[in-house]
Amino acid sequence: MTDSQQGYNELLLTSEIFYLLLVALSFYLLFLSRTGEARTVWEVLHPVFIPALFVATSLLLTIVLSSEKVAYKLLFVIVHSVLVHSLFSIIFPAGDLSGQQMVLGRTRIVYNNAILHGWPPWTLGNVFSEIFTRFAGINFQAALSVVFARMFSLDLLPVHLFLVPVLWGVFTPIVAYFMTYSFTRNNKAAVFASLLISAFPYSTYFGAISVPNSLGFIFFFYAFYFMLKYLDSNGFQTTFLMLAFSFFSLMSHYLTGVMSLSFLLLTLAFKAYKSEKKTSPSTTRFSLMISFVVSVSLLPLSFIYLRFFRPTTQTVFTLDKLPFTESVGFFLPHQLFIQFLQNLAKSVGLFFLGELMYASDLKTILLFIIGPALALLYMIYLLFKLKRNPSIKFQVHLFFLFAAFLMMLIDYGILTLFMDDLPLQPERLWVFRDFIGVPFVALAIHGVFSSVNAFLKSRSPPTVSFATLKVLSKNNFLRILSLLLALNVLIPVVLGGWITLSLEVSYPRVAPLQTTWYELEAVKFIEENTTEKYVVIGDIWTIFAGEVIVGVNNPRAYYFLELNKTGYDLFVNMKRDPSPQWMLQAMNYTDTTVAYFIVTKPRLGADEFNSVVSRVLQNKQLTVVSVPGVSPEKLYVFSYRKG
């Protein structure tokens, strides 16, 4: 080993140690930021966290662009990925509000053995609902969480909170690497892609919340990778793994399942095209087009027919969302024309950006679209390159990826502009789009990096180092110094900045008050100090806290479902007329012997809270339950016992 090589290795090792220290510091800062009363992570995040993350990310980029072993690079990326997806789970004691707590509420009753003789515990209307409910992703996630919690002998809460951040953090970079490598055979770009996936805000958000859809995304990514591999291979294993991962993406969530099915169809069409394009080019092209149209249609149609499986879903096609249907209001021709242009711009904006179009902050919009836009541009560039040289490798892969990306754009447009009452936000499709786009962003940036590198090599003495710079002319010296800086400092810093800024828009800046420590304490206290079966009447926020500790619809410790009308009416009636009759009604309805009524000041507002509490205290029929450590200024718990 030469001296310069040894020096380089030492520098690399130092960078790696420094990087790991910075990541450890970032985790520590996250733990320092942990709070029991906040709306968003940004309210309480330690001020040093973002700068530390920025330096760590920039350093990681220099490691990724170095000649370090791939496995080590990936390990560093995985550590980084787990860090950026753990903000909710570390900072909030009950994780992000609502979605994942609803999942936890249902998982809890499995964990607490509250439901025996199979899931679901209630009878369903028809066979389709039965199938849908049994195969719903929540069961699969519940199974994973409960098995892990029992294996590690931990409570369900931490296992549930970290399930997706850890699985996503570990397995998504690996599959991004695989996918990029499969059609580029470029190691650096592939590792780079595994890191760049963190620059896509919506993907980061879904990697941070433990919901079945997030699990489905992970399995879908692997299904998609094996689809790409299947284009080259006829092996049983590839086919099996492609189908297995597609099946598990369906088991996790119907969105990822339907998308897997759509892409499977597209893969089969491309495979047929690849093998038959020489014998019957026009027929294969036609069948490819038909397959593309069918694949695009599958998702919108599946939402329409979801009503057979889930009667509450009533998705319809509509033209009402098109801005063209808005009334014009004036009739002069040039005004009509201007209005037409404005509507057209609005439609195009909605088609590509959706709700993001109404975001007031330009930085947010840019951070959401820069990655996909770069991916699309580079795809188009590669397709043009392909046209000039059709003999180059992997052209079918490239066409397939372009078709898949296009499919996502069209589906998103259809869902945004032509469909109403969707069962989920169409923005979830961005996660698919981002995953397909990330290899191209990595390739584009790596292309710039390689060009600068090649230019540097061609214009400099055989070994450029700061020592040899002295012998160069002033012009050459400045040029090479600036290129060296660009290569080793500017590119990592700019990209590190991009990834860090993306994190800032990944986690919401506006949110309701998260589940507070005192709500959790109240629920825990009731659970630990009630021997009989009980029911809790509270607002939706109390129900979320209840889901975290005892689960929802638990026959022994009953919390109504979040949108249950009876539960909601009981709470409203208790607020209006805080008397035992509503509590008796709740006990009779749930076959319990004790009822609790919880009101929280920050949720109700000071005026309503004080008014309800004073009426209950005047009434004197309900017992005040004092929760140790919780001030009456924050929360009140009242109880009433049957008989």
């Binding site: 439901i115 199979g118 699969f140 199974a143 098995v147 470029n186 292309g447």
Partner: protein
């Protein structure tokens, strides 16, 4: 940059990973060989440890150690069965991912049929360990 290199399979192309593949760790080899069903027996022993820990000690440390061994052995089995050509790191990671899928699937089946209490979780672990062991054996026989 994009299309110049020859399309070799992953294991052949990536220099440093290939090295790792060649120097497949002794530990992995001994797990895969499963001489006298030793690895399978260790895997079953970890299930017993998990079961006893759940019923008596309830120690996260014991749970963590036993679970890690369980994941390692069965992850190696599945990695060897499905991703033999990949490098060691990827073989293990993908094997563990498949193991999680299998655990989730069998656990889901238990939830839908009855429930997932301590005994049922133990049965799930046992069933998954047996499937992994059989798959490993099948691949070994093929060789």
């Amino acid at each position: 940059m994009l299309y110049n290199s020859e399309p070799n399979p992953l294991g052949e192309q990536v220099g440093d990973i290939t090295m790792e593949s060649k120097l497949r760790s002794r530990l992995e080899n001994s797990v895969v060989r499963n001489k006298s069903f030793l690895s399978s027996l260790v895997s079953y022993a970890t299930i017993l440890a998990i079961f006893m820990n759940l019923n008596s000690f309830q120690s996260p440390l014991i749970g963590f150690i036993a679970s890690s061994i369980y994941f390692l052995i069965n992850g190696v089995f599945l990695g060897n069965a499905f991703f033999e050509k990949e490098a060691t790191f990827f073989r293990l990671m993908l094997g563990i991912l498949l193991l999680f899928m299998l655990l989730g699937f069998v656990g889901w089946f238990a939830i839908v049929c009855y429930n997932l209490d301590t005994i049922w979780v133990t049965l799930v672990l046992f069933a998954v360990a047996t499937v992994c062991s059989l798959l490993n054996r099948k691949v070994k026989r093929k060789k």
